[in-house]
């Protein structure tokens, strides 16, 4: 009787030392633990909600919001639904993030190059800028820029540009173009120009690869995309009316307004992230093999081409992954808009939460929104990264 049982125990022992089985057991345990954890949370939440007599669910999104939003990229009034209010807020977040990413990239590259400059003062100023912005909480910087914008002239003392654009501490008031029917022709030409440029660029690249001869794609692109539509206005005139802002009793009326909150948030986000990007760019450029630059110089490439064709493509490969992180950070940091009253998704969600009391739902919307945005950015940047990585294999 004793022998079989001992072999069974031995077998069990073997089972444990079998790495594959142990792995499976470990994983099953992990999944079970996680499932238990979530069940625990869901159970409690349901019980607590019931105890407090609170309703849950996303039905409230259809209720009227009954508050106003000052920056709307789509139609919205106070009679629109909570859901639409969220949409407006989400678009505002996307807007400031997109503008911020563009500006931060520009600032980052310029400052990154400035820090490598041989001019002592220029590189020092760049260093001071980077250290100041990187080491002060962003929250304070947002408030700082907002205060700076508020120090601009008041409405009645606006700085005007040719009496059509007005700058004051309530933002920048721009003329709003109103398009007439003939504008469609110009639009069509513009699209045609874009397609033409794309085709031309492909052809030029192929020819460059085959024969080594270059083609001035940049200039012809400008000609195609902007020149064609501009030329056509000679025949049809400019089929655009401008709604020019006029000073009313309190504010400028007509045109459209870029709010100071947007400007302040945009400045703060781009300057803050720009400092981080400049470090990324600097280390990317420093990572390029010196021999490459020396070789480019030896074959007589002029400095502009040297940067464009030799240094940047190689630096980009190092730069892009951390750059993606910075873009994601910027997007997430835009949630601090709430301190100065820029109505992004967090700020609007707060108002909704205040009115409806639907905390769980509002916070889940926040998370879903930011996760989607992060995922999209990552996918886009990974795609771009793959493209630049291919260059290496050719």
């Amino acid at each position: 009787m004793a022998a079989p049982s001992s072999t069974r125990i031995e077998q069990l022992g073997y089972l444990w030392t079998d790495e594959r089985l142990r792995g499976i057991a470990f994983q099953v345990l992990a999944v079970a633990g996680l499932a238990l954890f979530f069940a625990f949370i869901i159970w409690n939440t349901a019980a607590n909600l019931k105890h407090a007599g609170l309703a849950s669910g996303y039905g409230f999104l259809l209720d009227p919001a009954s508050f106003d939003i000052n920056q709307r990229l789509i139609d919205y009034t106070s009679t629109s639904s909570y859901g639409r209010a969220f949409l407006v807020g989400g678009l505002n977040t996307v807007l400031v993030a997109a503008l911020g990413i563009a500006a931060a990239t520009f600032i980052g590259f310029v400052v990154g190059l400035m820090r490598l400059s041989t001019n002592f003062l220029v590189s020092r100023i760049a260093t001071v800028y980077v250290e100041l912005t990187r080491n002060v909480p962003l929250l304070l910087q947002i408030i700082f820029w907002w205060v700076v914008i508020l120090a601009l002239p008041r409405v009645r003392d606006s700085i005007s540009v040719a009496d059509v654009v007005f700058l004051n501490n309530r933002g920048i008031r721009l003329p709003q173009p109103i398009f007439e029917d003939a504008f469609q022709l110009i639009l069509a030409l513009f699209v045609a120009g874009c397609i033409g440029t794309f085709v031309l660029a492909r052809w030029a690249r192929k020819r460059h690869e085959l024969t080594g001869r270059t083609f001035p794609v940049g200039w012809s692109a400008i000609g195609l995309i902007f020149g064609l539509p501009a030329l056509s206005t000679l025949f049809v005139g400019l089929p655009v009316d401008l709604d020019i802002p006029l000073l009313g009793r309190f504010n400028f009326e007509g045109g459209f307004n870029v709010t100071p909150e947007l400007i302040a948030l945009w400045l703060a986000l781009s300057l803050y992230t720009g400092a981080f990007i400049s470090e990324v760019v600097r280390s990317g450029i420093l990572a390029v093999d010196k021999g490459q630059i020396e070789a480019a110089r030896a074959v007589g490439l002029p400095p502009g081409l040297r940067t464009r064709k030799i240094i940047l493509p190689q630096a980009l490969r190092v730069i892009i992954p951390p750059l993606t992180n910075q873009y994601l950070n910027l997007t997430k940091n835009s949630s601090l808009a709430v301190v100065i009253g820029y109505q992004d998704i967090v700020s609007i969600g707060e108002t909704v939460l205040n009115q409806s009391g639907q905390a769980l739902e509002v916070i889940s919307i926040y998370m879903a929104f930011y996760l989607t945005l992060s995922l999209l950015t990552s996918v886009l940047m990974n795609w771009y990264n793959k493209r630049t990585a291919l260059v290496r294999e050719r």
Binding site: F40, S66, L150, F250, N251, E350, N354
Partner: protein, 347 residues
């Protein structure tokens, strides 16, 4: 079976977080919890001039804070046995619902949906407020109905945005809302002329105006566009605790009606040679057994008044004309003095 599982899991989580942060909070008899902890957990604002703020020594002071003190004095016999929990507009209701505080005294507007839908009980009104507009005199506006096209700074976090939207919609006017969460930033925006007018509760507006360098250059427009009855809130479902919080507030108001002050309360509460007004005797516990009905001792109200004074004294100390805020009593005067402040009788 499921209940056991849950208990086991709770124990596991408890064990995992076996740190000083753990405290047992049972739902049910709030009074017992407060007594057991020997401390009142009172939810207050994160900083609102006159209502809840810190002095230079780091102590919380203000109109709402004094209500917490009165309650603690009545229940625990010591106005200092309070844990102040600062809450924002977002987490004040969740904190109350989850039992992190026992009473919320954070200038909270009593509305239907909050009272009915959020599982809360409003126990009374300690400040009658209403939303108004503050604007510079140079703007040449004498009524809020002339504000078509204006930019309006809003201090958010309560029902302000909704009232504003309703007001402009009913008057068919356009406006640019500039919603800002904190008073200091909203105030800075108004001062910099980021907006033409500033809207908030009238108390806040008067207080804001008083702190400008030239207060006379600004005026509060005559329209009050909403009713904002502010008062203490407790969880629904504990009637005894709701009664205690309600009658502590009423005791402060009644004390003013009856002329009981911080200075004379001790003398008036004497069994012999004290007040000969029967209502004062009932209020201060020298006659009757009102304290026992609440589950407290006889001189609960006397202690509350001794700690912070009557309603008028609290008001004068934190909001009145002698403070920098310089608020008038207005609606918050006693019904007998032209206001609407009125306590049910102690009978």
């Amino acid at each position: 079976m499921i209940a056991t599982t849950r208990r086991v899991l709770s124990c596991a989580v408890l064990a995992a977080f076996a740190l000083p942060g753990i405290m047992g909070t049972a739902h049910g008899a709030t009074l017992d919890d407060v007594r057991a902890a020997d401390e009142l957990k009172c939810g207050i604002n994160t900083g609102l001039a006159g209502f809840a703020n810190t002095d230079d020594a780091g102590n919380w002071v203000g109109f709402d804070v004094d209500y917490c003190k009165a309650l603690a004095a009545a229940v625990l016999g010591d106005a200092s046995k309070i844990q102040y929990v600062s809450l924002t507009g977002k987490n004040r209701f969740p904190a109350l619902q989850a039992g992190e505080i026992e009473v919320l005294a954070r200038n909270t507007t009593w509305t239907f949906s909050r009272d009915v839908d959020l599982g809360l009980t409003f126990v009374g009104v300690n400040y009658y407020d209403g939303q108004g507009f503050l604007g510079p005199k140079s703007l040449g506006v004498s009524s809020a109905t002339e504000l078509d096209g204006a930019s309006v700074c809003i201090q958010t976090g309560t029902t302000t945005e909704l009232n504003l939207a309703d007001f402009f919609r009913t008057h068919n006017m356009a406006y640019e809302p500039v919603p800002i969460e904190t008073n200091s930033e909203a105030r800075a925006a108004y001062e910099a002329d980021r907006c033409d007018v500033y809207t908030s509760d009238a108390s806040g507006l008067a207080a804001t105006k008083a702190t400008f360098d030239n207060p006379d250059d600004h005026m509060v427009l005559p329209e009050i566009i909403s009713k904002e009855p502010l008062g203490p809130v407790v969880r629904q479902g504990d009637d005894q605790w709701a009664d205690i919080t309600r009658w502590v507030l009423n005791a402060l108001i009644s004390a003013e009606e009856l002329g009981v002050t911080q200075a004379n309360v001790e003398a008036l509460a004497q069994k012999d040679g004290g007040s000969d007004n029967p209502e004062v005797q009932r209020l201060l516990g020298s006659e009757g057994s009102m304290g026992a009905m609440l589950g407290l001792d006889a001189d609960w109200a006397a202690r509350a008044i001794m700690a912070v004074g009557n309603y008028s004294e609290i008001f004068e100390r934190h909001l009145g004309p002698d403070t920098r805020l310089g608020l008038e009593r207005g609606l918050n005067a006693l019904y007998s003095a032209g206001g609407i402040l009125y306590s049910p009788p102690f009978r």
